[in-house]
């Protein structure tokens, strides 16, 4: 599997993503600067967390128009898997690969702690190493993780089975509609999520519950 991490000015989870992907694939992970206008052949693109462009205007709004994102959008449309975590999820909504938007946490506080998530589907390329309804512990670290979409969009996401992860009942850290923590696009190859699976890849980090997500991707994409 050929994986790359896209690096924006202000990204701060790019190295965490690269560590996880290199551990997974046994190969070096390509780090691609936001000004690049071409991508090498890839199976997985990781959009990392952080504060791209200082979160100016809106989280992910400026980065969504950076040169490399045109290539990421084109790659996604060709079927390349794209995993956006935290600020990477912001980028996926701002570049319209995923519907809805993420706004300021309902409690206004930056929330940085492990949260329990339920795995809504366990047969996608990202989740086949989980069991349906399994509750996993993965850290969140964000101030703008409150997922919002209009009623029709929320109904469509639910009916099409495109909700990937929900915060466990009563454990919603940010006020997200429907306790949504992550969603898929129509092809189930683009996944955006606020929690950080790359920060939960071995017990020494406090949880290894994110590792099956990466194992699922490797098994699915080879």
């Amino acid at each position: 599997m050929r994986a790359a991490v896209i690096v924006f000015p202000g990204s701060n989870c790019d190295r965490d993503g690269a560590v996880a992907l290199t551990k997974l694939t046994g190969r070096e992970t390509a780090m691609i600067w936001h000004q690049e206008t071409e991508l090498p052949p890839l199976d997985l693109i990781f959009l990392p967390g952080g504060f791209s462009y200082g979160d100016y205007l809106r989280c992910g709004a400026i980065a969504a128009h950076s040169p490399v994102m045109r290539e990421v959008v084109a790659a996604a449309k060709r079927g390349v898997a794209v995993l956006g975590v935290c600020n990477g999820f912001h980028l996926l909504t701002e570049s319209h690969l995923l519907p809805g938007a993420l706004i300021r946490n309902a409690g206004l506080k930056f929330v940085c702690r492990p949260v329990p998530l339920s795995v809504e589907r366990a047969e996608t390329i990202y989740t086949k190493h989980y069991s349906p309804g399994q509750v996993i512990r993965v850290p969140v670290a964000h101030g703008d993780g409150n997922y919002r979409a209009d009623g029709d969009t929320l109904a469509r996401l639910r009916d099409e089975g495109r909700i990937a992860f929900r915060y466990a009942y009563g454990q919603n850290p940010n006020g997200s509609a429907g306790d949504i923590a992550g969603i898929y696009d129509e092809s189930f190859r683009v996944l955006g999520m606020m929690p950080h699976p790359e920060r939960a890849i071995e017990p020494a980090l406090g949880s290894a519950d994110g590792w099956p997500l990466f194992q699922s991707v490797l098994e699915s994409l080879g």
Binding site: L57, A61, E94, A101, I103, A106, L108, R148, G175
Partner: protein, 82 residues
């Protein structure tokens, strides 16, 4: 030169936690009778053109593509001669 003022506001019905916090703080300060507070952004652009129609069209396109997120925000454009 034309100055364009773009006012970006969260759509009615979209939760505004910052507006709520401002409202709460006003209450703590003793200001009464504030029913609702919404916080938005004002973006001021100085444009080379003197053509008001062209300026308005250009700034509307900017609003749609970048300055506002149509999923959650509305925007208005006001032109000021300077």
């Amino acid at each position: 030169m034309i100055r364009a003022e773009v006012r970006v506001m969260l759509k009615p019905g979209v939760l505004d936690p910052q507006g709520q916090a401002i409202g709460n703080a006003l209450g703590h300060l003793g200001f009464e009778g504030v029913e609702d507070v919404r916080q938005g952004k004002l973006i001021v652009l100085d444009l080379e053109t003197n053509d008001r129609t062209a300026a308005e069209n250009q700034v509307k396109a900017m609003g749609e593509r970048l300055l506002a997120n149509p999923v959650i925000e509305n925007f208005t454009v006001e032109l000021v001669d300077v």
